[in-house]
């Protein structure tokens, strides 16, 4: 395992040098928030942030993605036959991704890459992407990664992990992809004992700063129908506006819609992020809607994340504890509170 130390200037220069080999996505200050953007020489990467408002989910799973294209009409023998759109699957790296957001890709992967079917776009985007994490020295008050099997310096799901040691960065290679990234990166020097010790201390102190931790283990033992019929859903859903902010920001929400877009005689089949918060999501052609009420949709979101996923994959909850839904919900619905209610029911 490679462990190298960079001064902060060296680190940025090293990244600049990697732009030949990778399309790099880095955190950039964007108004009051940080956002992942391609490192293209115009925007300056800024690694001094708590977390980005949006996770880098869209690097692997774009908000709108062209799947197929076709021509319409009868003149051409190829008309009305779908052709897979050409795509760029050249190497990418997300540098500065938080461990929770990397963990989220592992959670989502179980949906898109399973023994029966593989989603060809998600899988190829994922396989071509290297995840270079940045540990969290100062977790937010809404963070609860330690409650869902993660942590501020959690390594699972990352290809390399960076420790911010004040003046310098320590970077550790964790997988072959991460090692390949480090091998291509210029600068830095081998880490000494003192640096490694400092990183260890940092990891321990950061974990202690996460105070909110609803346990998620009790969820497995509950019965789906018992939780489904629990009396607290009306109360949980009461203030909800069904705005969809939670599902939009969530790094582990993967639901999508497929739509055809036509311009003249040419068209594309496109997939777009969708949300279980919207009534159209489940509206039948007949007019029947199994989740036509707000409370049903709110229940669906929490039951999916905290129970259906748990039962389906036997691999924890569908949540990486990033806390975005808690932070940005306009009516302060808190998944930690809902999890507690489900635990205690």
């Amino acid at each position: 395992m490679t462990e190298r130390v960079y001064t902060k200037e060296e680190w940025i220069r090293g990244l600049e040098g990697l732009r030949e080999d990778y399309t790099l996505f880095v955190p950039v200050k964007d108004g009051d928030f940080h956002a992942f953007m391609p490192m293209n020489g115009e925007k300056v990467p800024d690694f001094d942030f708590q977390n980005t408002r949006l996770s880098p989910k869209s690097v692997i799973y774009p908000r709108s993605e062209r799947l197929f294209e076709y021509i319409l009409g009868n003149a051409d023998p190829e008309a009305n036959i779908l052709k897979e759109s050409s795509k760029d699957f050249s190497p990418r790296a997300i540098v500065g991704i938080r461990p929770c957001d990397a963990q989220a890709f592992q959670i989502v992967r179980r949906n898109f890459d399973n023994p029966e079917y593989r989603d060809p776009w998600w899988v190829r985007h994922f396989e071509s992407t290297t995840l270079v994490g940045l540990g969290c020295n100062e977790p937010c008050s809404t963070c609860f990664c330690t409650a869902v099997g993660g942590g501020p310096f959690h390594e699972d799901g990352l290809d390399a992990l960076v420790f911010d040691l004040g003046e310098r960065y320590l970077i550790k290679g964790l997988t072959d992809k991460g090692e390949a990234f480090l091998a291509k990166m210029n600068g830095g020097k081998p880490a000494d004992e003192a640096v490694l010790k400092a990183a260890e201390d940092l990891t321990a102190s950061a974990s202690q700063k996460i105070t909110s931790s609803p346990p998620t283990d009790p969820l497995k033992g509950k019965k789906i129908n018992d939780l489904f019929n629990a009396p607290f859903w009306e109360e949980v859903a009461f203030g909800c506006l069904n705005c969809g902010t939670c599902t939009y920001l969530c790094p582990t929400c993967w639901c999508f819609d497929v739509q055809d877009e036509v311009l003249g005689k040419e068209g594309d089949r496109i997939r777009n992020w969708d949300s279980c918060m919207f009534p159209l999501f489940t509206l039948h052609g007949s007019g029947h809607n199994p989740r036509d009420k707000k409370v049903q949709r709110v229940r669906q979101r929490f039951m999916h994340k905290l129970k259906y996923y748990v039962d389906k994959y036997d691999n924890g909850v569908q949540c990486s504890g990033c806390g975005r839904c808690v932070r940005y919900c306009p009516v302060n619905i808190d998944i930690r509170d809902v999890c507690e209610r489900m635990n205690n029911y």
Partner: protein
Amino acid sequence: MENPYLPYPVRIDKITVETEDRNLKTFHFVFLNPEDEAKFAYTPGQFAELSIAGKGEIPIGIASSPTEKGFVAFTVNKVGLVSSYLHNMKEGDVMGIRGPLGNWYPWHEMEGKNVVIVGGGFAFTTLRSSIIYMIHPENRPRFKDITVVYGARTPGMLLYKDELAAWEQRDDIHMHITVDGTNDPDWKYNIGFVPTITEQKITSADNAIAIVCGPPIMIRFTQPVLEKLGFPPERIILSLEMRMKCGIGMCGRCNIGDKYVCKDGPVFSLAQLKEMPPEY
């Protein structure tokens, strides 16, 4: 990498108007690439996505039987954007089908048993597939008595009328066709709702398995009749419908609890459904 979203190109070979309101049509599709027909190997009870460039896709049960070669058939009710467009398409037009998708009726369990089929309205499509499949000479010996109760609002709303008449003439399948009402003086079959006719005609649940497909109201009133006859929930089989997009368990909308209707269904036993949230 196989792309499960890519439809097989097909040509519409034949269109049949099924019902007097002209709202149901049966489409026979022929694969443009003959090798795709083998790839589309299906089992009665499965569905597929009918895919129209520029419009989208709809999940529809397969109405043909794998014993019928050279085409696949779907009976489509005209309700939304895609189905309305499809109803205006012509023989010879090119579109796509994607599948087969989902699970199927429990053929393995049904072997050696009496089979009771209860259908209502336009949900009879995969039941037609099943009947054609079972009465095929190669398969018929695998099943004991086959009894069918099939009802529609009026005689003109029954699907596959010629085939129903032909099955009536056979001695290896017991047909009980019914309509809610009719003023046709020549109507020679039953009059009455499906649950009532089921109660009158089905006499035993011994060694029998029941497959029920129809509108929710029919299912609601048929279920107690079957349970009273002694069918345990494990031997009452239902097929569900849901809004779908991907058909392969990824897009997230057709779940009932932790099951996806598209991938874990659409066929469930009543015993399974009783363990699932009533959200369908």
